[in-house]
């Protein structure tokens, strides 16, 4: 009964189906229910608005209740952290809040301090930065609470940059800080900003994002580390089961569909959890469905992956059999593909989007491109769909792409 109520709570959190509340959207699966989205766009076509951003960010925008939220980092050493709120319809910047980083800002040049994607749950915005600063604001920019995780756990962090995004779990936000210092996963109460539970994690460099897996009528928090997967009770953190038969990736994150968890890594493993203290059944593994920075997406009978060079691979989600692979246009790819309006959208760092048909045979429907006019500008985050529009963020601009004005 208790677990059922947790599941209902979780479903209630995602009641705003048109929203895009967190990393890879509702459920963290990279699938949006949005329809009537534009198929074609360029710098002057179907761009409802385009707004400048104050600084870089690998974080994707999130959308809730007609507002889009974006994070960024600025300053010679990225010590200034930004949370911005825009009106979905007009692009008006409704508010901006800045914070001073309390943790270290050293990182690999590919990433930056605004790497984790924020959360907007309909009531509040939770923005985690690679500095281990976690901000909670209401939708008008009023500070609800602030956590300096470095202040709490001084050695947390690493010198290559943290990137795991927080996710919504029932009653809390889950933050996965797997690193060379104090390494942990912590559930933080959405209202109080205090720990609900905290469990130790391996001292490893890891950037992937946890997944809230729906196991029948129960929800389970699944954490991935190169040593394997562990599932935890979202209310207590208690370990429920462990999978050690594959080596999960440190960058690409899990996804799930119909009671199956898909974990990218040395192989893409489809695992089916059963019960507590029982190692999940491995349905299939495949080396022919490679991921890079981006995470796999499952829609219907298909699973899609994309590597850093833009090779998109389509496979059978039930068997792991590869159907096809095709290079998307563009040079390098960091953001995860998005399924929306029954199509697959793959965004390259240069702003080119290749649109694939979701089918057993490969077919590119169209290729769209926006260009900010700066060769150094990059679209590092995945595309987002909400409110009849796509949202794309580069280091310098936030785009709203829609046929509706």
């Amino acid at each position: 009964m208790k677990r059922l109520s947790i599941a209902l709570l979780a479903l209630a959190s995602f009641a705003q189906a048109e929203d895009f509340p967190q990393f890879r959207g509702v459920g963290g699966r990279g699938v949006s229910k949005e329809t009537n989205l534009p198929l074609k766009w360029d710098e002057t076509t179907n761009v409802r608005w385009k707004m400048p951003l104050p600084g870089r960010g690998l974080s994707a925008p999130v959308v809730s209740k007609g507002r889009v939220y974006v994070t960024a980092a600025t300053g010679p050493e990225q010590k200034r952290l930004h949370v911005l709120c825009f009106d979905v319809k007009t692009g008006d910047r409704l508010w901006e809040r800045q914070f001073w980083a309390t943790g270290g800002t050293q990182c690999h040049p590919k990433t930056n301090m605004a790497a984790p994607t924020p959360i907007a749950d309909g009531q509040r915005v939770y923005a985690l930065f690679a500095t281990a600063d976690l901000v909670c604001l209401d939708h008008d920019g009023n500070l609800e609470w602030y956590r300096s995780l470095v202040g709490d756990y001084p050695t947390v962090g690493n010198n290559v940059g943290m990137a795991s995004s927080p996710i919504l779990i029932p009653g809390s936000v889950l933050v996965h800080m797997e690193n060379v210092g104090e390494s942990f996963a912590v559930a933080i109460d959405r209202v109080t900003g205090q720990n609900t539970w905290r469990i130790p994690r391996p001292n490893l460099i890891n950037w992937n994002t946890p997944h809230l897996f729906q196991n029948g009528d129960k929800s389970e928090v699944v954490l991935a580390t190169p040593n394997g997967l562990t599932a935890h009770d979202p209310l207590t953190g208690k370990e429920l089961w462990r999978h050690t038969k594959s080596r999960p990736a440190t960058m690409a994150s899990m996804t799930s569909a119909d009671g199956v968890l898909y974990s990218p890594g040395d192989v893409l493993a489809a695992v089916q959890p059963t019960g507590e203290n029982v190692e999940p059944k491995v349905l299939w593994t495949s080396k022919n469905l490679p991921s890079g920075y981006s995470s796999p997406t499952v829609v219907g009978d298909f699973i899609f992956t994309c590597n850093n060079g833009g090779i998109v691979t389509c496979g059978d989600a039930k068997t792991g059999e590869k159907h096809w692979s095709q290079r998307a246009q563009g040079n390098t790819f960091s953001g995860s593909p998005l399924v929306a309006d029954n199509k697959l959208f793959v965004l390259a760092e240069d702003g080119t989007t290749t649109v694939f048909e979701i089918a057993k045979e490969k077919k590119i429907l169209t290729v769209n491109a926006v260009s900010t006019g700066d060769a150094k500008d990059a679209f590092m985050a995945g595309m987002v769909a909400a409110d009849g529009a796509f949202f794309l963020r580069s280091d310098k601009y936030l785009y709203c792409v829609s046929e509706r004005k």
Binding site: N142, Y146, T155, N159, Q194
Partner: protein
Amino acid sequence: MVTRGSLCLLLLSIAPLSAEEVPSLLLRLKAVGKEGSGNAEARKAWKELAGKGPEVLPQVLAGLGDADPTAANWIRSAVESIADKAARQGKPLKAASFETFVKDRSQSGAARRLAYEYLVKLDKTAPTRLLPTMLDDPGQELRRDAVEVILKDAANAKDAKAAYLKALEHARDKDQVTQVADSLKKLGVDVNLTEQFGFVTRWAVTGPFNNVKGVGFKTPYPPEAGVDLAAKYVGKDGVTCIWEETAPTDKLGLVDFNKVVDQLKGAVYYAYSVIESPKDQPVEIRAGSNNAVRIWLNGKEIYFREEYHHGMRMDQHTGKGVLKEGRNEILIKVLQNEQTDSWAQQWSFQLRICDHLGGRVPFANITPKLSERKKGS
């Protein structure tokens, strides 16, 4: 010159109704503790504070002075919220009160910088008027902007060399200092970056001690109990360790154990140096290393970090301490792990002594007296 006292009088005259409440609200924000303790009380205080008018902004800004990093962010967001609300309600912010605050160097650098950003929005002439007076500013960001003004025009200045030398005198950030040094080199002036940054270059080193499977980080080998340059230690695999002198010639003070010693893996080396200080002075001991490090000043550990091969950056490891007048001892433990990847072979460090802005402090780097070892050996 505006004093803290005159500022308070000014503030009291501006906000007689709310002046008594703001300090207590700030105290409630500053009471936020670890792991979110005090969040509920802080949220109430924040809402009350953010509901006030823009006349309290200087007071709120002043509250940043003794706030810890978490409380500072609570206060900062209250400043932003008050200012935003005032703008929505058509209540003009007063440039004069921000300028008074910016000019008050007794306030924290971060608070003054925040005030400066509001001032610039209200008065576009502020940068031109104020930045030239901020070259010696105690706040890092304001000082950086002031140096940037010189750098922007230095190349085309009538006396470019003088302009760059002026920038060099006041620059504290590595990128600005190196930019100036590069420009001066083209003008025939060699800048001694070792001295400019305050790198320590005279070391005695000993090792190797064992770090197989990372055991060395938490193992206190004999030098940690006190340095005796005449001592011999039993090191890794039974080797005899003695202190030996090394003096890097690298302009940024890099001591490369792979060259000084050997390309060892799973090993620990210690480096020791003696610093003469003309006075008691608070300092920062800043190191750069791609390896795990521990740092001691006068026998007290001031920094540690167990991380390997995730990028080396000058000043990435910073400990704080006080140089006492006369002789001081610095000991750094630099650990190499056993990774075999080609990108995981660096085993080196650089270390400098500076003030909280990264500026030079007076000290002399004395060669450790290895004659003591010779006498004892």
